[in-house]
Structure formats: structure tokens, C-alpha cells
Amino acid sequence: MNEFYIIILGLIAVLGVISVYIKKSPFDKLIGLAIMMGGVIPLIVLKGYLDVAILVAIIMPLTTIFILQATGRNTDES
């Protein structure tokens, strides 16, 4: 049971990192960041730190929204 989780989640996290590095648009980079966080948070739950997992899951969209403020400012400059 545990090996299946480790293989699937490690593959998802590494694919997310590769997707962040390859793509050039900032929106695609943020989607890759969401993929990588989706691979990392079940590993924290599997280790047993439930409070850390809840804190990371609450803070993750907050950081993304604050980065989106800087990217969205460039598109509708007029």
C-alpha cells in the first residue's frame, strides 16, 4: 500500500517540477506549481503531520493569489 503511494506521488511531484521549468508563460508556471503541491501534500499526510498539512493547504492558494497580482498587472496595463 505504502509503495504505491510513494511511487505515484513522487512521479507527480517530479512531473510538476519539470512542467514548471519547461513552460514559459507565468500562468503555466503557476499550474505546474499547483501540480507539485498536489504531489507534496499527501506525502505530509502520509507521514502523520496533519496540522502541517492543513496549514500548507491553507497557505498555498494565498501565495498563488499574491503572485497572480503581479502577473495580472502586466496584461491589462492600459
Binding site: 517530479v14 507565468p26 508556471k29 506549481l33 496540522d51 502541517v52 494565498l62 501565495t63
Partner: protein, 79 residues
């Protein structure tokens, strides 16, 4: 060895290398790559049994990202 430790070191090295040599040379791309390196370091710290250290590290990383976003919005764009 621990699987989280190996995955954390892989993600940390990939994040540091991608942050040092990015493909797009602007500030936002570099900031997102720094975020990858922070996640890898959090995964390395997960292998040891310190809960308060991980909580403090996650909160301070988020605050530092917000401050850096404020700095990037004010400054002029780089080359």
C-alpha cells in the same frame, strides 16, 4: 533511506538549479523557481521530527513571498 528525504533533495537541487539559470530572465519566473526550492527544503525538514520548525518555516516563507511581490511591483523591470 527515507523516500521523503530523497524526493526532497531531488526537488531542492532542481529548484536551486532552475532558479540560478532560468529560461525567462524576469523576476516573476525566478520567484516561482525560488518557491520550488522552498518546497523541497520543507520536504527535507519533514524527515526529522520537528513540528514547530516546519510550521514556522512554512509561515515565514509565505510572508517573504508576499514582501518580495510588493518589491517587484514597485521596481522597474529588468533587462
Amino acid at each position: 533511506m527515507n523516500p521523503e528525504l530523497i524526493l526532497g533533495f531531488i526537488i531542492l537541487l532542481a529548484g536551486v538549479a532552475a532558479s540560478a539559470f532560468p529560461r525567462e530572465r524576469d523576476y516573476i519566473s525566478r520567484l516561482i523557481h525560488v518557491e520550488i526550492a522552498g518546497t523541497g527544503l520543507m520536504l527535507v525538514m519533514l524527515a526529522y521530527d520537528e513540528t514547530i520548525a516546519i510550521l514556522t518555516f512554512v509561515a515565514v516563507t509565505a510572508i517573504a513571498t508576499i514582501v518580495l511581490i510588493r518589491v517587484i511591483e514597485r521596481g522597474e523591470p529588468c533587462d
